[in-house]
């Protein structure tokens, strides 16, 4: 078998694919964060908890009401998104005038409260969520066994990421949103309801997190700290991509997933630090991130 750097090439392809799969979660989550930061200037530390809420929502829908995975993909983001809207209206709104730090503290505190409540109720081992029948099993690609569900995750998250990018960067609605962040007063003068737009944007970002949560439920345990473990990495992804840059977060999400996957082959012990090393290097060379622009 041909080898690359002492690793059989077949194994290497497998690892690249797995990196891509993990990268799609990073991309999906960092996308939501980037949208919220880009348009609201809020550093949403509750994102991990909202991802976890999405997974729990799917769990309850299945076990209490017998709602299938496919409907959960729709209902959970709507429900958690509505919860996000409520948070924005009641708690985040008064903070827009203040320093970033207040938003960060509030969302961080909220995340701790939500995770703490769930841990008290459900413990730390988590709850099982089965893979939908239609996606069970997998196929042999020759160099690896690819579970159908993972293939679906990559496909779905690519579509969602590109669609979001398209809406924000290429449509009229997106241009309103971008204009409203540049100069809210002027956009309001044109008769556009800016506060409502901001609320809905936050709700959308939160819904994206919940969607990622539903997609993660069958792979990982549905557990209270599933988001807390992931959110730090996702923040690193956003910082590397450039705070607020939509395309940056998508590309970096997938890219870092792959780099992390490769680290797991060559030096597995470093697999949870490699992303932060890259973050440090990027910040030294390009302080605004790979795709960010200095304001």
């Amino acid at each position: 078998m041909p080898e690359i750097f002492g690793i059989p090439s077949a194994a290497l392809f497998g690892q690249l694919l797995i990196g891509l799969i993990n990268g799609s979660f990073y991309a999906l989550l960092s996308l939501g964060l980037a949208v919220i930061f880009g348009l609201l200037n809020i550093i949403n530390f509750t994102h991990g908890a909202q991802y976890m809420l999405g997974a729990f929502c799917a769990y309850f829908l299945l076990n209490r009401f017998g709602v299938s995975y496919w409907w959960s993909l729709l209902i959970a983001p709507l429900a958690v998104g509505a919860f996000g809207v409520l948070i924005e209206r009641t708690m985040l709104k008064p903070l827009y005038k203040l320093d970033h730090l207040y938003g960060l503290l509030l969302t961080f505190g909220l995340a701790l409260v939500i995770q703490g409540l769930f841990r008290n109720e459900f413990g730390s081992s988590g709850l099982p969520y089965p893979i939908a029948k239609e996606l069970a099993g997998g196929r042999n690609l020759g160099f690896m066994f690819l579970p159908n569900y993972r293939a679906w995750v990559v496909g779905a998250s690519l579509v969602i990421c590109i669609a979001t990018w398209f809406v924000i960067e290429r449509t009229k609605l997106g241009s309103y949103l971008r204009a409203a962040t540049e100069n809210p007063a002027l956009v309001q003068a044109f008769g556009i309801n800016v506060p409502r737009m901001i609320t809905l944007t936050y709700g959308f970002g939160v819904a994206l997190a919940a969607l990622a949560g539903v997609m993660a439920a069958p792979i990982y345990q549905v557990s209270p700290q599933m988001g807390a473990d992931l959110i730090i990495v996702v923040f690193a992804v956003v910082v590397i991509g450039g705070m607020g840059s939509i395309m940056g977060s998508i590309v970096t999400g997938f890219g870092l997933g792959i780099i992390e996957g490769l680290t797991k082959v060559f030096y597995p012990e470093a697999s949870n630090t490699v992303i932060f090393i890259i973050m440090a290097i990027v910040l030294l060379i390009k302080p605004a991130g790979l795709f960010g622009t200095q304001k």
């Binding site: 797995i18 701790l112 099982p128 792979i219 990982y220 797991k264 082959v265």
Partner: protein, 406 residues
């Protein structure tokens, strides 16, 4: 985040204040025996020990009858977050400032090793239930530490030899990259080699990793018959779950969970966990006494049944209090010496003893997880395949390299 939470104060306190006769505890420092439950309260091991260990300690104090005997016992608890620096800082503060006499539980071997050192320096007592590394009674043994429930040698010996003997003679390890994983991998490897098996490879993952697919793929490529999981808690759960997704078992390899707790099986569900074989020293459905304990324990732990770690906390605290009573002192070094002198006997682990190296010995059980159809309901999970007698379950005293063994 406040590190120290006083969850339960003064079980004996209230009754004593109501006029129960006060026995002069002249030798008990400041008149109170203070027990510190130090555990993972919030992360991947919280269901194994955590708040359940606090409940177990409280039950031990009740069952000992501290209040009736006029002994004042207080329980405090804290979250060590699986970090050795946090754990030893809390231990120092407890011993120096808060007058804690004994620390119990402490899952995460790296933290337990640190706390054992602090305890030795301060001349206090340390009852380990949650941590696994056999080094605690081997080269890192201490006259102030008792290792109660299980250890890596016992797991390797129980599970490893059973699997090699039934034909699983080539192994690949997926190992948690810290003291515990290394010890478990080392001890299991020895057992595999001793029984004529081979180790084809190993990969080390960071503690609390989420995604194991990459490691599983490497294990798959090794073509080993057995994939040994030298990790615990949330890491084991995610490894097993994702192994099912990648069709590891269907494609002819088998998983050996070297350390699996009943809380992990509960979290996985029987559909995924069925057929797993591993070693435990406690199961709630062993006999009438263990069943009675579990029925009392569950309501105090959010409906969750006791793990062997929580049962071990109960049993260790009970024996500790008996030793304090018998020795009329709460001086750590003296109590631990007394604990080794007195035979142990409690409803959960039966009769046993604490050896000179600090190892508590009792029988171990090789268990197999039931199929969903065999289970009568939640927590009816194990079939006992074999009982390993106390004198064979643990590493022989002379082989550990402990300086206390003469």
């Amino acid at each position: 985040m406040s590190a120290v939470r006083k969850l339960s104060a003064a079980v004996g306190f209230a009754l004593a204040a109501m006029g129960a006769p006060m026995v002069a505890n002249a030798q008990v420092s400041d008149g109170v025996v203070k027990i510190g439950v130090l555990s993972d309260m919030s992360s991947l091991y919280a269901d194994i020990g955590g708040p359940g260990s606090v409940a177990a300690a409280r039950m031990a104090v009740e069952d000992f009858g501290a209040a009736k005997k006029g002994m004042k016992v207080e329980i405090v608890s804290a979250d060590h977050q699986n970090k050795p620096d946090v754990g030893s800082a809390i231990a120092r503060q407890w011993y120096d400032v808060d007058k804690v006499d004994v620390i119990v539980d402490v899952p995460t071997s790296s933290v337990a090793l640190a706390v054992s050192q602090v305890t030795k320096d301060k001349g206090k007592a340390f009852l380990v239930s949650g941590a696994a590394t056999s080094d605690l009674t081997g080269k890192a043994c201490s006259p102030n530490t008792v290792h109660w429930t299980y250890d890596t040698w016992m797991l390797a010996n129980g599970t490893g030899s059973a699997i090699v003997k039934s034909g699983g003679n080539t192994w690949f390890f997926i190992t948690a990259d810290y003291a515990f994983g290394h010890a478990l991998e080392r001890d299991t490897e020895q057992v595999v080699l001793k029984n004529g098996g081979k180790v084809l490879g190993k990969v080390r993952h960071p503690l609390n990793a989420q995604d194991f697919s990459s490691f599983l793929l490497q294990a798959q490529a090794s073509k080993a018959k057995i994939i040994g999981l030298a990790n615990a808690g949330g890491d084991t759960i995610n490894s097993i779950k994702q192994a099912a997704e990648f069709g590891i078992v269907e494609r002819g390899q088998n998983l050996a969970g070297m350390l699996v707790f009943i809380s992990d099986v509960h979290g996985l569900g029987l559909t995924t966990a069925q057929g797993l074989i591993f070693t435990e020293t406690f199961y709630w459905d062993l006999n009438d006494q263990t069943r009675a304990f579990a029925k009392r324990f569950a309501p105090q732990n959010n409906g969750k049944y006791p793990t062997m770690v929580q049962a071990g906390v109960y049993s260790a605290v009970l024996h500790y209090l008996k030793a304090v009573e018998a020795g009329k002192t709460d001086d750590g070094t003296k109590v631990v010496a007394k604990m080794k002198e007195m035979p142990t006997d409690d409803p959960l682990f039966g009769k046993g003893r604490v050896r000179a190296d600090g190892r508590k010995i009792h029988p171990a059980y090789l268990v197999e997880v039931k199929k969903p159809v065999e289970s009568k309901g939640p927590y009816d999970y194990y079939k006992i395949k074999a009982q390993i007698p106390a004198d064979q379950a643990f590493r022989p005293e002379k082989e550990g390299g402990c300086s206390l063994v003469k």
